[in-house]
């Protein structure tokens, strides 16, 4: 029954997207005919779970600047690095290497010494990116300013020196905000507040205080008194305002969601959305996989099975007890999860090889 009503009122069936503005740092779009829960999942996932690369380990060989080592390390972490085609990079914890390698990290070095009387500024462009990396753009500092300098890292006076080696790793913003692909995400629905999801506070009169005609002083750009300022979203014009005396529709659900995604520069905004959906699917795939693996979750679970990949028998010896499951589980499907059921074994040393 519910499906029928859905088909009747929307001229287009199923989810639809309308892009209203886009450039290389922004995308504004309307997502409609989906549930609030799905739209919110999309918002959450693009803000916190799309992987990017950022400086994570900093080795300071020389720092005679006025700034403390950890202060500089923090600043380095926040420098946006090119994260396009991040799929080509492994999470360090999933990588086969011992500490770090070209498949899971990008090395950046910085060596600057001020020899002139003037203050020297050290910028992100001064970082030298190591050659051992999956492709030739990943890990490059993002430089968008017209001078081509990038973020300012530190200022040096005569004789002061910085000699630093940085290791950039793949990560997600859930772990540290430096990995956030987005600078800001606007998310709104129901601009007229017809659903009463908001309880707008007012002094005495709701209409006069919340709609047309409040004289307000605009402070920026030039201070000026503007009449007719509406504290309403620009999307208020996209939707029908409530009719006079319209009764509250308690069955109504939000249907149109307005996103304003602003990229931090590491990934293009449209790619962030795509990657976000992919990440959501990766979560689901991991769970489907997990469910399939232990069908009788409350009954006897099936214990360690013969590793499918090595029926031949030969690799048993040298492999210790790493099974193909350790690899498969660790890479993509399980997302953040490091250890799988097959990762840790009672046989001791196996863990060390994996991550």
């Amino acid at each position: 029954m519910e499906y029928d009503t859905m088909m009747m009122d929307g001229e287009s069936l199923g989810p639809s997207v309308k892009i209203s503005a886009a450039d290389n740092t922004h995308v504004d779009f309307e997502l409609s005919n989906v549930d609030l829960s799905f739209a919110n999942s999309l918002r959450r996932v693009i803000q916190a779970e799309v992987p990017t690369i950022a400086i994570d380990l900093v080795e300071i060989e020389a720092n005679t600047s006025v700034l403390a080592d950890e202060f500089i390390a923090h600043r380095l972490g926040l420098i946006p690095l090119d994260s396009r085609e991040i799929d080509q990079l492994n999470y360090t914890r999933d990588c086969d290497c011992d500490q770090s390698c070209g498949k899971c990290t990008v090395t950046l070095t910085l060596h600057a010494k001020c020899s002139s009387d003037e203050v020297m500024k050290v910028y992100a462009r001064d970082l030298i990116v190591g050659i051992d990396r999956p492709n030739n753009h990943i890990g490059n500092p993002i430089i968008t300013d017209p001078e081509g300098q990038g973020s300012l890292i530190a200022k040096l006076r005569k004789g002061q020196e910085l000699k630093i080696t940085c290791i950039a790793k793949k990560g997600i913003a859930k772990e540290h905000a430096k990995w956030a692909p987005t600078a800001a995400v606007g998310f709104e629905y129901d601009p007229h507040n017809k659903l009463h999801h908001l309880d707008l506070w007012y002094e005495t009169d709701k209409v006069s205080e919340w709609s047309v005609g409040i004289p307000t002083i605009r402070l920026f750009p030039p201070p000026r008194l503007t009449a007719g300022y509406r504290p309403k979203s620009k999307y208020a014009e996209w939707e029908e305002p409530p009719a006079e005396g319209e009764p509250f529709d308690y069955d109504a659900v939000p249907n149109r969601f307005y996103f304003e995604v602003e990229s931090a520069g590491m990934i293009e905004p449209d790619a962030i959305i795509q990657e976000g959906i992919k990440e959501l699917q990766r979560k689901l795939a991991g769970l489907i996989h997990g469910l399939g693996e232990n069908d009788d979750m409350n009954g006897d679970y099936d214990g360690p099975r013969s590793p499918d990949g090595i029926e031949g028998g030969a690799p048993w010896q040298d492999q210790g007890y790493t099974t193909p499951y350790a690899g498969a589980g660790n890479t993509s499907a399980w997302g953040g999860g490091g250890a799988t059921a097959y990762g840790t074994t009672p046989y001791g040393n196996s863990g060390s090889a994996g991550w």
């Binding site: 959501l280 689901l284 979750m297 214990g303 013969s306 007890y321 059921a341 990762g343 074994t345």
Partner: protein
Amino acid sequence: MPSATKTRDSSAEDANMEDITPPSAQPVVDSQEGGDPMEEDGEDNELGEEEEEEEPQRVRILPGSTSTAASFEFLKEGHTLGNALRYIIMKNPDVEFCAYAIPHPSEDKMNLRIQTYDTTTATAALEKGLQDLEDLCDVVSEEFWTQRENFMAAKH
């Protein structure tokens, strides 16, 4: 009986942390001459079972569940998945009730309750929900990309 002794031998080797435990099982396969390797696994299981950690399992059914009314516990999941999954499972006409909760904010766990009519089971409903949500993601992803292409085409 001989095979049983062999099994015991190999478990002793485990205790010694020697790396040759798996080979101890191998000769049995060889002697069986082309026997299905799967049969061999049965013995392997007996060895590993008590020591195998069950913890990293991402989804488990909480105690007190029946086939049509079950509570699942998801590790390392939150509102991102919980709410969308709850919605999509509730859309399934065979499902009577579905809700999710994060019992405590400092535990990385998410509980999902599913009660179905007799036409299906809770586990099946969960599996269908996961699949449906994945399909929804596909649709939205595709729609976004076509609209992006259209927008780019219109701009130039």
